[in-house]
């Protein structure tokens, strides 16, 4: 470090008084890190997953109906591409939809005769 009482040798001014102190660095960086931590906790708390949002905003019967309809539409599309005997599966699903019946895995497997369809 140069002594500020002596004139600088290369014509530079002694600017050390303007240098940031260690407590300044700690204060600024500490505030940033605390902000990041608070932000990540806030995001974790405030970000419900998609199912939670749907579950909060719709009555259960609507959810069941929507799930069945979605399944029915998907299967109907697949049935169009599949062999002729898949029509009966489509009818079964359509029946479930009108009855607002949520099929079990076993019923689905039974209707579509396994995973292949």
């Amino acid at each position: 470090m140069t002594d500020s009482r002596t004139p600088p040798q290369d014509g530079r001014a002694d600017l050390r008084a303007l240098a940031p102190s260690q407590p300044q660095a700690d204060r600024v960086i500490g505030a940033v890190m605390a902000g990041l931590a608070a932000r990540s906790q806030g995001v974790a708390r405030s970000r419900p997953d998609a199912l939670e949002i749907v579950g909060r905003s719709l009555p259960p019967a609507w959810i069941a109906a929507a799930a069945v309809l979605l399944t029915a539409v998907s299967l109907a599309v697949l049935a169009r591409r599949g062999p002729a005997d898949s029509t009966s599966a489509g009818e079964t699903v359509a029946m479930w939809a009108t009855q607002e019946h949520v099929p079990t895995n076993a019923e689905l497997l039974g209707a579509f005769q396994g995973y292949e369809r």
Partner: protein
């Protein structure tokens, strides 16, 4: 062995905040001095750094060359400081301090020698163009070579040398013998 900026940036991109803190500590002084060159006051420079650091965390994926993280960070600091400067200029026109000089004078009565020296240097620097301020602080205070200053400020090495030469001449004129009369501030 010191971990490279590029490696730390890669970790930050994975959400590693500890790596981010290492980067901030490594480049804090340069970022702070650039902020100070732009806004003039220590407290404002701290605010600028804080805001710029948070922005850099949010936009870390936009850092195209992680090995040049510091230059990218400085760019964010300069933009943030620019916004802050505009805000301060607007606020200054509405400030009561302009209308009440006694309030400002009473504050200076209690300044220590160190604070007085700092205020004198800040006033002197304020008379330089902003790029000269940045160059002289990064070179003469932070100790960066012209190549490093040029890379951080997006200017050529030649311009860095020229700005430094002009800044030193101007500071000598403004400060005169002031610095040689001040007590040691180590």
């Amino acid at each position: 062995m010191t971990e490279s900026d590029a490696s730390l940036v890669a970790r930050v991109r994975m959400g590693d905040s500890a790596a981010f803190e290492v980067l901030l500590r490594r480049h804090f002084r340069a970022a702070y001095l650039v902020a100070l060159a732009r806004v003039g006051e220590r407290a404002d420079a701290e605010d600028v750094c804080q805001e710029a650091f948070l922005r850099s965390w949010e936009s870390i994926l936009e850092c195209r060359d992680p090995s040049r993280f510091c230059a990218w960070l400085i760019r964010i600091v300069r933009n943030t400081a620019l916004n802050r400067r505009e805000y301060l200029d607007v606020r200054a026109t509405e400030s009561f301090d302009d209308l009440m000089p006694y309030a400002s004078a009473s504050r200076t009565d209690h300044r220590t020698d160190q604070e007085e020296l700092r205020a004198t240097l800040q006033r002197a620097l304020a008379q330089l163009p902003v790029t000269q301020r940045e160059v002289v602080l990064l070179h003469d205070l932070e100790g960066l070579a012209h190549g490093e200053v040029a890379a951080r400020l997006d200017i050529s090495v030649l311009m860095s040398r020229r700005h430094l030469s002009d800044a030193r001449k101007r500071l000598r004129v403004i400060l005169g013998d002031y610095l040689t009369l001040m007590p040691d501030h180590d």
